[in-house]
Symmetry: C2
Subunit: 309 residues, 2 copies
């Protein structure tokens, strides 16, 4: 994979062509939701992963169990992306299955409530209820990890902020794929990478943010935009992001703020990768990233580190 010899790798050309060929023709929210699920489920789930519909704290979810799952009680609560308005547990089955294999424990893909029907903090409330339900099942917080991509990454961080502020036990680690933590969009990558990012435009991001927090919502609310949060005491976090993303700057700024707050951060910046590139199996990097995140979440369960300062 020579990313310096040419501007685009063969895989990137393929993914960009795929996205171009599958642009949604309708802009209604229903059509966009259908489009996102259809695009994601073009990838087969694989027969090896068992799917079970469950409910966690009253919130529907799918439990994905791969053959690699051990019986040590480790669990991964996953919060899907889609700008707080799109995405579903069903659509995220293929990505969830790959992560469940790599993690080696049950992955709970949560169908949290979406905006604009259910604005902030409905999705966050659902994540909190699901996390508490895992504790109520007898799973120790030290055995629980939380993952999320894009808006789900923001939700995962906000969940930990709520838990910390309530004095509740925090999960063992966070796995964040292109986390979306800034709702303002004044970073340089957001302002200038538009032509290179096939997925997130500034206008699209601002529109999704408004759907989530409402027209009068505060774009600096730390539970909706965790770049503005006091991050002290959060669990170790893994942050993966691509250099082609309009979201690049806010993700690396978030990682830096977390480090400054004393949080252990394992950050990886992937050359030429797009927003949540892990969704696209055409990229060799997709599986490499999932493998690394799964293994690191797993190792946080097996070898819990002391909480960050």
């Amino acid at each position: 994979m020579d990313t310096t010899g040419s501007l685009e790798s063969a895989a990137l050309t393929k993914v960009l062509a795929f996205l171009d060929a599958h642009r949604p023709t309708e802009r209604s929210l229903a059509a966009l939701r259908r489009y996102m699920d259809e695009m994601l489920t073009m990838e087969p789930v694989g027969q090896d992963v068992q799917l079970e519909a469950v409910t966690l704290g009253g919130v529907p979810a799918e439990k994905l169990v791969a053959p690699s799952a051990g019986d040590d009680g480790a669990a991964l609560l996953y919060l899907h992306g889609g700008g707080y308005s799109l995405g579903s547990a069903a659509g995220y089955r293929p990505l969830g299955a790959r992560l469940a294999r790599s993690f080696g424990g049950p992955l709970y893909m949560l169908d949290y409530r979406l905006a604009p029907e259910h604005r902030y903090p409905a999705g966050l409330d659902d994540a909190l209820a699901a996390y508490r339900a895992l504790l109520a099942l007898g799973i120790s917080a030290r055995k629980i990890t939380v993952g999320g991509d894009s808006a789900g990454g923001g939700l995962a961080v906000a969940l930990c902020l709520r838990l910390r502020d309530e004095g509740a036990p925090l999960p063992a680690a966070l796995g964040l794929l292109s986390p979306w933590v800034d709702l303002e969009g004044n970073t340089r990558s957001m302002l200038t990478f538009g032509p290179s990012d096939p997925i997130v435009t500034r206008d699209g991001m601002l529109g999704l943010a408004e759907m989530y927090i409402g027209p009068a919502g505060d774009r600096k609310d730390p539970l909706a935009a965790p770049i503005h949060a006091d991050l002290r005491g959060l669990p170790p976090m893994i942050v993966h992001v691509g250099t082609r993303e309009t979201q690049l700057d806010q993700a690396v700024a978030f990682a830096q703020r977390a480090r400054e707050a004393g949080v252990t951060v394992d950050e990886r910046v992937w050359p030429e990768m797009v927003h949540v590139f892990q969704m696209f199996p055409a990229f060799p990097e997709a599986q490499a990233s999932i493998d690394e995140i799964g293994a690191r979440l797993r190792s946080a369960v097996d070898n819990p580190r002391p909480p960050s300062e």
Copy 2:
């Protein structure tokens, strides 16, 4: 430090204004060399650091010793930046002094030969001679760390490649500040970040590369452009780079290639930072990065890790 609320921090505005106000008026190489040294030495060195002119393997160098230096024999060989054609041990005293304090051991700032008077591999030969001289002084390779910024980062990697291929003992760790490892400039950041990067333009980079390898030189030679090297067996490396750099993509691509080769890589991407931002004490990030790199190099000496796979 809120990097998302506004496009430029106060420190960045200050550094950009400083650079604008101090643009060289002459373009001759002699003038550029003088300019770079003058700019760097606007920062005082500090009375606490002892300077000594030494020779390592026939190559002139300055030995910088801070009060924090222990007597365990640890040493840091530093290869300055300047596109293989600019920069000097005298000019790099202030940066070297800060790194020597943070490392806690003698730092050897090497005055390796510069292009175009002395083309590739003259500088690399000098680095190798200096490293061997440290071994000859009785310093174990496990006590030696090597650092470098920009072209010096490329040299530091090339030095390890030469050592590995000769079966010589490798240093304990590499500290790379905005390492320059790609001489072609076909990455997206190099092609599109020009307007935001106040230091490295694509034309400037290509010109310096040609001065180094000569008009008929091979821009893919792995010892001049280590992005093309087989990196297996290299020591653990620390890579710090800023998101405002035209060199961003090649640096993160290099870090990824090193990981793929089994090398332990500790990568940090600094939001909105410029090329070798550690040179500019106006940035709070400058000292934070130096502190982190110094401490990590030091800990590699104290707790040598097994060589990478």
